[in-house]
């Protein structure tokens, strides 16, 4: 019983430490973003370089064939793509590095 509560206490302590690190990271990041480029739009280099220079030379980017760049739809498809990609990467990493009962490719 005591062991269980000690273990839970340690977990909470670790969790708090993790949250504190994340909070510090967020504050530093937000500070840098706000102060360094308060008026910046964080354009991608495709907008700030590729499309701008192309436009100067009479070539404008057209809309994508499947236009997901509409409001929050783009955030949704990126989230979906990130989740699927992250799941696949995690799955294959585990397949490659699992030590118990034979890794893939072990003789």
């Amino acid at each position: 019983m005591r062991e269980g509560s000690e273990s839970a206490g340690r977990c909470v302590e670790k969790l708090l430490k993790a949250l504190l690190i994340i909070l510090c990271f967020s504050v530093v990041w937000a500070f840098l973003c706000v102060n360094a480029f308060a008026s910046g739009k964080w354009e991608g280099v495709d907008e700030s370089v590729v499309e701008r220079v192309a436009k100067e030379h009479g070539r404008e980017a057209s809309k994508p064939f499947i236009n997901t760049d509409q409001g929050d739809l783009l955030l949704f498809v990126f989230l979906l793509a990130g989740a699927a990609g992250g799941f696949a990467a995690g799955y294959y990493w585990r397949v490659l590095t699992e030590r118990k009962s034979g890794r893939v490719g072990d003789p």
């Binding site: 340690r10 993790a18 280099v45 009962s101």
Partner: protein
């Protein structure tokens, strides 16, 4: 069964760490969420002639990649999961907008230096092509008409540069981490060098090539200089991690010699 139990025990033993990783991932996703604009050449920018030319250049490399994938998968069982891992990694990395504070813009690493080193450049081109196609079709990232040009810059130039630099440095007895870092860094920069060539040639009309090429290249520098360093660090991290976790795999891929294993 034993495998699942062992795995479960590992996570039960470190629930705080697992949760912290989960929180950090969620946090990064939320903070990184921004309009997904980055570096691939956008839809419709290149004229038809250049669109066809870059597809013609990319075609044979893709066919050779398919041929190599079939051969190597049949010869080595561990190769398919590695291809799956690298495909997912290249896909995620090449559509991940990273804010560059020094420039006030966003761009992304490519991941093809890393996949070029691990899978070989031929299969890395294939992996990059699939990632670029999905991004062009569903993520409004790059374009279908500019797919050939993007495959040439990110897939072919990135993969072959990473592979050649890594092999050369390893041949000169440079450590695996340093060789991977330089390979990732130069693969990223070479990709943007090629993008500048493709763009300058495609959009210049009657204007001279060189001034436009330099203009594009210089414009990429503030963003791509730090992104290249990030790409180098990611490549080195992956190689060093695999060196610790699966040195046998790196030996079979001829990345290290059997005497260099650390596990």
């Amino acid at each position: 069964m034993e495998r699942h139990t062992a795995h479960g025990a590992r996570f039960r033993a470190k629930p705080g760490k697992a949760f912290a990783v989960l929180l950090l991932t969620a946090h990064c996703s939320l903070f990184a969420a921004s309009d997904a604009h980055a570096m691939h050449i956008s839809e419709g920018i290149l004229p038809v002639g250049w669109v066809l030319f870059w597809f013609a250049v990319a075609g044979p490399f893709i066919a050779y990649g398919l041929y190599r994938l079939k051969g190597r998968s049949a010869a080595d069982l561990s190769f398919k999961p590695l291809v799956g891992l690298m495909a997912a990694v290249v896909f995620i990395i090449s559509c991940m907008p990273v804010p560059v504070i020094t420039a006030g813009t966003c761009s992304h690493p490519c991941g093809t230096g890393m996949s070029g080193v691990l899978l070989g450049p031929a299969i890395s081109v294939l992996v990059a092509s699939v990632a670029l196609l999905i991004q062009a079709l569903f993520l409004s990232h790059g374009g279908v008409t500019t797919l050939g040009a993007n495959i040439v810059s990110m897939g072919i130039v990135g993969s072959y540069t990473g592979y050649i630099v890594f092999r050369t440095l390893r041949g000169l007895r440079v450590t695996i981490g340093v060789a991977a870092f330089v390979a990732g860094l130069l693969a990223d920069w070479a990709t943007y060098l090629m993008t500048s060539i493709e763009l300058a040639e495609g959009i210049r009309g009657n204007a001279p090539f060189l001034p436009l090429f330099w203009k594009l290249l210089v414009a990429f520098v503030p963003t791509q200089l730090p992104i290249g360093i990030l790409e180098g660090a990611m490549t080195a991290g992956m190689l060093v991690l695999l060196h610790k976790k699966r040195p046998d795999l790196l030996v079979r891929l001829c990345i290290i010699k059997s005497g260099e294993t650390c596990a």
